[in-house]
Symmetry: none
Subunit: 81 residues, 2 copies
DNA sequence: CTATATTTGTGCGTATGTATG
DNA sequence: ACATACATACGCACAAATATA
């Protein structure tokens, strides 16, 4: 059984990093597929109950990690590799 | 040759002031043109490796100096004079 | 062509906590 | 105590790009 990292809002690990790791796990597991969009910032906010800034921070990490590509006005997509 | 002030993170002059002076020099030299946006807060953060607060502090100085004008939701622009 | 909805980009203001000089 | 600086996090607003009715 492979499970994604747990989300612990009160933990020592910053929320944006926890969220980024969870989304990364979804990409690596194939739950989020290449050339397909990841959840919007709005959706991330709602799923994890965080502010937009925090959601954006998480997605920014995915970009830095080379996992996704963002198109303004459209969305953020999983990079095919 | 006119060169902009050096950035010295370990110097006695506060970083926000150093950054503000560098951006001012770019405006006065024409590297940043009137009616054109200066680098976003994010870009300033990244270029100088400082926190958001510090980048914002620098841009706030440019406003106080009457060099730029900030438009909410759009950016900060060099004032034509 | 216009209007609307969605998504991302940018900025403002504020707050808490940590650390250094 | 104070100024500076970093890190994290919340809420809000307006602008721009994109897609669709």
């Amino acid at each position: 059984m492979s499970s994604e990292p747990a989300y612990d809002p009160l933990g020592a690990v910053p929320r944006y990093l926890q969220i980024a790791r969870i989304l990364r796990a979804r990409i690596e597991s194939g739950a989020l597929e290449p050339d397909r969009p990841i959840p919007s910032e709005k959706a991330v906010e709602q799923e994890f109950g965080v502010a937009r800034q925090t959601a954006r921070h998480a997605v920014a990490l995915l970009r830095e990690w080379g996992l996704v590509q963002t198109v303004p006005g459209l969305g953020t997509y999983v990079i095919r590799r």
